[in-house]
Symmetry: none
Subunit: 409 residues, 2 copies
């Protein structure tokens, strides 16, 4: 079974926003054995949207359209869909009630344009939206099933799971995507360790990607049944673990923070943080995991020297002698934090995120990470490439990775 | 003048890689007055690539194709381009010399498949590549100029600047993109206030989008010269400020944190933070702005009740009587933080980010934000929809927005 995915929006074709919905939908459809053959993006133009829908429906069995369901005048996908179907829009009472309820629950007044969002093509079925005001649309055009979903990624994802996936026909084969996340070596080094698995034409397909500071290994396995495809993938994942060992942080939805958090939970130990250049990012990552209150106490953002001294007890003399960005201050931050808060582990991070503040001796990207634990304190020095956000991200990941590796020992 | 941008690659239509080239090319073409009307992505399939090129060339004046110029068997764009042109490929001696030179300079042996990269359609012109081994292709198909560039973003960008831009016809106009970010009202409410500007067919084109918790108003202005286009945009931006007032956070690259930070800097005042459910996100946002150390002291991540008590002086009795997620505790956090750190302003945030921890009385998404300042303390109650990350993001934005509005008074 084949699919075409359409994305709608002037902000997309003008390049102001990068379309990530289409890639997401392709991956999800592949899980069901549906192969995407084309992505197409058109602007907020009723005729172009309608003809793109009609054309796609003439070529493949599944068409998914995202975007253009908002309440404003430039949201034209509803009308275009009706045009492509050759019918009118009509007010759907259930959808209107959902929208009214949405505003009522939030103590907000529904504005008149939102009423337009309850308009659905006469011969289509609404897909109710629990996260936002725009219902989706499910309809048949010729031999194709066409699904229209909101462009807001969270709503699109929710609607895929709850409205599209249940409506998809049972497929003849299964394509599974697996991903294993690594940290600590570059993409080419990881690639060199698994070059044989990455050969073109081998099954499963194995490739590497870099995103948000992590190198991920992606596995696409095919099978007649889910069990077939899973068996293929499991063998490959096993090989990856043999080759890559502790470089592997986790699989699937795992993040650096969830991996380190799981290890803390298993040991029944606690963590606290003292952040300078990361400004709260490590705490943010740790607490992005639901249930992290079981092992994360909290900590300090000591962006100024005064706070390093007043809150963490870093001595004035240490700051003056070595500077705020130094091995010694990182250690004093981690140990001060651990002592003040009585945690099992404490992370201290200080560095120069840039673009300003660097020198020949202490360049932008220089970061010290200290980890104080039950058996003493370790300190690590890094010089990270990249812009401010990248230096901060890598610092936070490196700090949590030090903790993860210490907990694996 | 209109353009269609094609992206080629199985990794794109399977969703393993998000296509960012097309958005980049759209933005760059717009600078030259070229309006992109469609993005289209097809896989590594010779017939599909050829028909996509031919079809696009029949519809617009400019076609840019990225990807599929590599040395391996699944790189088929060269042959597809020749097919779309109705001619053969032939070895280009200059390109072959470039490729040989590329390997020689890097002390690497050229592998035989790389020779294929020097094959160019007979009636096309090669675009030489200084960053990689794949030359681009420039050709005319019917009334359209077609440019084929490598999919590697750095090579694509270099080739746009050095090979495509110089070959573009002198445009008859300029297209400028502006964006104004708002916070505090939903997309439909913002849209209702500027409905007349958003009418289809009006100039400049005005539209709204929602991303990362903010509603942004996008303006596309056209003019014969840059000055013309800018004047159009400026008038519209002025109207937006009149209509939307303090809802407007900033323009262009401005963020909530940079806007609040600028106001602190102007007043010479300082900020500190006490975060519970946001876990450090507010600090992270504030410090994502270079130079934020001028006004941000730092703060506390008090994820546990014990830390709210020990670090911020929130009384045991208050926590027991009202619970950690309460107006009273948010106020005590902000005031405790301001007092301990001696900042002009302090933010205290406590809430239930979910998915666990909600109750009928205190649902998931309930968040209290307190702002302690020179003239006293304000507290705000929110119930945010969405998943954990969304609740946290909205909490952080709402907190910084309270500060921003207080600083505007």
């Amino acid at each position: 079974m084949k699919a075409i995915i359409l994305a709608i929006g002037d902000e997309l074709i003008s390049g102001q926003t990068v379309d990530t919905n289409s890639a997401y939908l392709s991956r999800r459809l592949a899980e069901r054995g549906v192969e995407t053959v084309e992505h197409r993006t058109v602007g907020d133009d009723k005729e172009r949207i309608a003809s793109a829908i009609a054309e796609a429906a003439g070529r493949v069995e599944i068409v998914v359209v995202s975007g253009g369901l908002g309440p404003t005048e430039d949201d034209l996908t509803r009308q275009a869909m009706a045009d492509a179907m050759g019918c009118e829009l009509q007010l759907n009472a259930e959808c209107l009630a959902d929208i009214e309820e949405f505003f009522r629950l939030r103590n907000r007044k529904m504005s008149p344009p939102n009423r337009a969002q309850a308009m659905i093509p006469t011969s289509a079925e609404p897909m109710r939206n629990k996260l936002g005001t725009a219902p989706g649309i499910a309809a048949r055009i010729g031999a194709a099933q066409v699904f229209v979903v909101p462009g807001v990624p969270a709503e699109m994802k929710w609607m895929y799971d709850n409205c599209i996936a249940p409506r998809l026909p049972a497929g003849e084969g299964v394509i599974l995507h697996h991903v294993v996340h690594t940290f600590g070596e570059g993409e080419s080094d990881v690639g060199a360790k698994i070059a044989d698995l990455m050969k073109r034409g081998s099954e499963p397909t194995v490739g590497t990607t870099v995103a948000a500071g992590m190198v991920s290994v992606r596995i696409i396995s095919r099978g007649r049944t889910t069990e077939d495809a899973r068996l293929q993938a499991d063998l490959t994942v096993k090989t990856l673990y043999e080759r890559l060992g502790n470089l592997i942080v986790g699989k699937g939805d795992a993040t650096m923070a969830s991996a380190a958090g799981e290890l803390l939970r298993k040991r029944g130990q606690t963590l606290a943080t003292a952040e300078s250049c990361t400004g709260g990012l490590i705490g943010e990552m740790v607490t992005s995991v639901s249930g992290s209150s079981d092992y994360y106490l909290g900590g300090f953002v000591t962006y100024s020297n005064r706070l390093k001294r007043d809150l963490l007890g870093v001595s004035e003399e240490l700051l003056a002698r070595h500077g705020a960005v130094s091995e010694q201050v990182a250690i004093a931050m981690a140990e001060g934090c651990r002592q003040k808060l009585g945690s099992d582990w404490a992370i201290g991070v200080t560095g120069i995120a840039g673009p300003a503040g660097g020198s020949a001796e202490k360049p932008v990207g220089l970061v010290y990470v200290a980890l104080a634990g039950p058996e003493g304190t370790q300190v690590f020095r890094y010089v990270f490439p990249g812009a401010r956000d990248m230096v901060r991200l890598r610092s936070a990941l490196a700090a949590l990775n030090c903790l993860r590796l210490a907990l694996l020992r």
